[in-house]
Amino acid sequence: MRLLSLILIALLPLPSLAFEDNFLNAQTAYDSGRYAEATLLYENMVSNGISNTEVYYNLANACFKDGDLPTAIQYYRIAWYNAPRDPDIRANLHFALNAAGAIDPAPGFIDRALFSLSVSEWIMVAIGSYLVLMLLLMLALFMKSTRRSILKLCLIPMAATLLAGAGWRQWYQLKSNPEWIVVKTEATALFGPIDNSTAHYKLPLGALVRQTGTDPKGWIEVEYDGKTGWLRRAYLERVSP
């Protein structure tokens, strides 16, 4: 029994060692200019369930260098979902969008502020505020002389909880209005969800668009650069989870 346990313990780090090897090999391939090979290695890690931001970012870099701009933008965006304040991800995403001739999504001040923390960070803020609020309320119950001041202090975690709720909702909206990326050339958004509808605007390969509506016949209403138009589903690939 003890022997079996020892064998199991010894086997546990194996997958992580394999990932480390993959990661280092991919980096070597990248540094040697073998971008397709680096892409394959990073993709292999992703398909094996690895979801580290660093892997998504490096995969995007390899795709970019390999000339596959839409995939690069897609992975930069996924990395950005996990680490929205990372300057490297933002810089490379901006650079790749620029190279693709696509517009960098520019949300307003409030949206930008709410997107400054990732969904898990907002949840942590909410949990932290909730615990602080509970603690303050308990103190208020016992410390009668300072109850009024403590209750006033409770406004801070309450506000933080509300803010965290707004931040979480902002990310949650990506489920109902997901982000897509244009993966085919000659993508033209139309005014209506039928083939012979009037063309509204062109979408470059690699453009990030936000879904605003759907049609049962396989059309998706997308917003790009402040304009809304209909695009066939085949032109798009979903980016947001």
């Binding site: 980096q27 690895i50 979801s51 931001t53 660093e54 898990s120 119950l141 039928i194 470059p204």
Partner: protein, 567 residues
């Protein structure tokens, strides 16, 4: 309000006779029903474009009718008789087959033209057969308009350009206009030019869709009896109609910068350039900065060139190069600060700039230096370095950012998609609920304590059963000991203390009358208990066990009943 009409679908084309330069409006009306827009099949010579839906509600003699109208614009590209449809329109309650006729005739001022492409078209050409990546190449777009067709002179390019790999958007400029004879007809030829540059190698296809507005006399239109709601002003004599011109497809094969013969000092330049370096000051103390200004000027991808590398030496501390704005798009100025560490430095090393020459299609290398400098030794040079470096950097410099940021290092912990965050685990959720539950519990206890402290009657009411229980236990003990006196004394205490607390009576006021008046529904039983216990307490003679037991039972039963009584 009832509906005036039954559900129906109608299709109309207005007008049914148009010229090659005109257009018609097709409408599909769903009357008192709803239906989706129809996807019309393609018809050679006609372009049918969906414009969107609109709704209309009419009330006539308190009866309403509602229409959903899907509008399309029909643009001809050649003359002829056309049948649009048959198409099946499905609506709530049925379906209907629709079709319509449209005749397109030659324009009045050009009887020879059979197709629109004979009147107007565009052609695109390039000045380079196979340019290299980053190498600028010219594109020329000629727009041919048959003499007699009036346009407003504004051109717009609506797509048809490579989707990716281009360096920025193309800016077209109209350079000239001339008349030219082609196939026996006179054309006005407008020339638009631009300069393109690619970020990647490969085949780039250009087929711009030139949109322009032609001016059509309103009289012509009225002669067809056509009232177009989309275009033209109401009172004007002329109106403009947008057209998109046919254009040839131009494939430009962009070659990559060759790997063969690429020198180590190559920094991405493609074109024809000059390289000049200035170093100053020439006489410094150890630890003081020397600024190297590298100017690259010429034609090519000037903005893509990264700074030439200065050979790193242990004798110098090298800072990152920065670009300095010059205001000239044909030159770039890099400024790099290097600091001699000691007085042993005698010169700034040779600086090499290599670029790919698009004229000779090979790599060229330009060398500058070495640059002699005099370095004097001073103590405490480290402090001087820090103090002097910022002053050498001019305002208006920008940090270089011409490539993507390098890879990220290996993460310390591997996360998998299957790993859920700690807060989404069931145990964590349960634990997170504990503080709230604990708070509720504490607040409940505190509220109860507060209430009991402020409400004596309630506090005594709640105390009553407990107080009675204590004396009943005493009575049970006395019963077992067969001590009649103690038994009845305990029962009396239980009775008075229970009702004293239960009815919030002062100790001296717990009498049979006071209790019975407050609990009239149990007055008889309570009265009997008071009398029996009192008699036994102060009476003579011993009670038997079989008399004491029922009395105890009756007392506990009465108190239990009184617990349920609402006062």
């Amino acid at each position: 309000m009832a509906s005036a009409f039954s559900a129906d679908v109608k299709m109309s084309i207005q007008p049914q006779l148009i010229s090659l330069l005109d257009r018609a409006v097709l409408k599909v009306e769903f009357i008192d029903t709803t239906g989706a827009a129809i996807d019309f099949p393609e018809i050679d010579g006609l372009k049918i474009q969906y414009q969107g839906p609109s709704t209309e509600t009419r009330i006539i003699n308190l009866k309403s009718t509602r229409k959903v109208v899907h509008s399309y614009v029909v643009t001809p590209s050649k003359v002829g008789d056309f049948t649009i449809g048959p198409v099946t329109a499905k609506y709530k309650g049925g379906e209907k087959v629709l079709s319509g006729q449209l005749r397109v005739i030659k324009p009045e001022d050009d009887k020879d033209a059979q197709e629109i492409s004979e009147l107007m078209f565009s052609r695109i050409t390039t000045d380079r057969e196979a340019p290299h990546i980053y190498e600028p190449f010219g594109l020329t777009l000629k727009v041919y308009i048959r003499d007699g067709v009036q346009i407003d002179g504004n051109f717009g390019i609506r797509g048809g350009m490579p989707e990716s790999g281009m360096d920025g958007e193309l800016q077209w400029q109209v350079t000239n206009r001339k008349r030219q004879e082609m196939n026996g007809s006179i054309f006005n030829v407008y020339t638009l030019v631009t300069t393109a540059k690619t970020l990647t190698a490969g085949t780039f296809t250009f087929q711009p869709q030139v949109q322009m507005n032609i001016i059509v006399p309103r009289q012509n239109r009225r002669s067809y009896g056509f009232d177009d709601p989309f275009f033209g002003d109401f009172f004007g004599r002329q109106e403009t109609r947008p057209f998109v011109l046919d254009c040839n497809k131009l494939d430009v094969e962009v070659r990559p910068v060759p790997m063969k013969g690429r020198p180590d000092s190559y920094t991405g330049g493609v074109g024809i350039f000059d390289f000049d370096v200035q170093v100053g000051p020439k006489k410094v103390k150890a630890g003081e900065p020397i600024t190297v200004r590298m100017r690259i000027a010429g034609k090519g991808n000037i903005e893509k060139i990264t700074p030439p590398l200065i050979e790193n030496s242990h004798e110098f501390k090298l800072y990152d190069a920065r670009t300095v704005a010059t205001g000239n798009s044909d030159e770039v100025l890099f400024e790099q600060v290097l600091i001699p560490k000691s007085d042993s430095v005698t010169n700034v090393p040779e600086i090499t700039f290599s670029y790919f020459n698009t004229k000779t299609t090979d790599f060229r290398t330009i060398k500058q230096g070495p640059f002699p400098v005099t370095v004097e030794d001073v103590p405490q040079q480290g402090a001087q370095v820090i103090a002097t470096v910022p002053s050498t950097i001019q305002q208006g410099t920008t940090v270089l950012g011409r490539d993507i940021v390098y890879l990220k290092p290996m993460p310390r912990i591997w996360k998998t998609a299957a790993d859920s965050a700690w807060y989404s685990k069931r145990l964590s959720r349960l634990l997170l609920g504990l503080p709230a539950l604990f708070l509720l519990l504490i607040s409940g206890i505190a509220a109860r304590r507060n209430t009991l402290a402020n409400n004596t009657a309630l506090a005594r009411r709640q105390k009553a059963p407990k107080a009675a229980r204590k004396h009943i236990q005493r009575a049970e003990h006395a019963l077992r000991e067969k001590d009649s006196l103690a038994f009845h004394a305990a029962l009396w205490d239980a009775l008075t203390e229970y009702f004293g607390h239960r009815l919030n009576l002062p100790p001296g006021e717990v009498t049979q009358q006071a209790v019975c008046s407050r609990i009239p529904q149990e007055a008889e039983t309570i009265g009997t208990l008071f009398e029996t216990i009192e008699q036994q307490r102060y009476g003579f003679g011993e009670s038997r066990n079989d008399e004491m037991k029922p009395l105890l039972k009756q007392l506990t039963a009465t108190m239990r009943t009184c617990e349920k009584v609402k006062l």
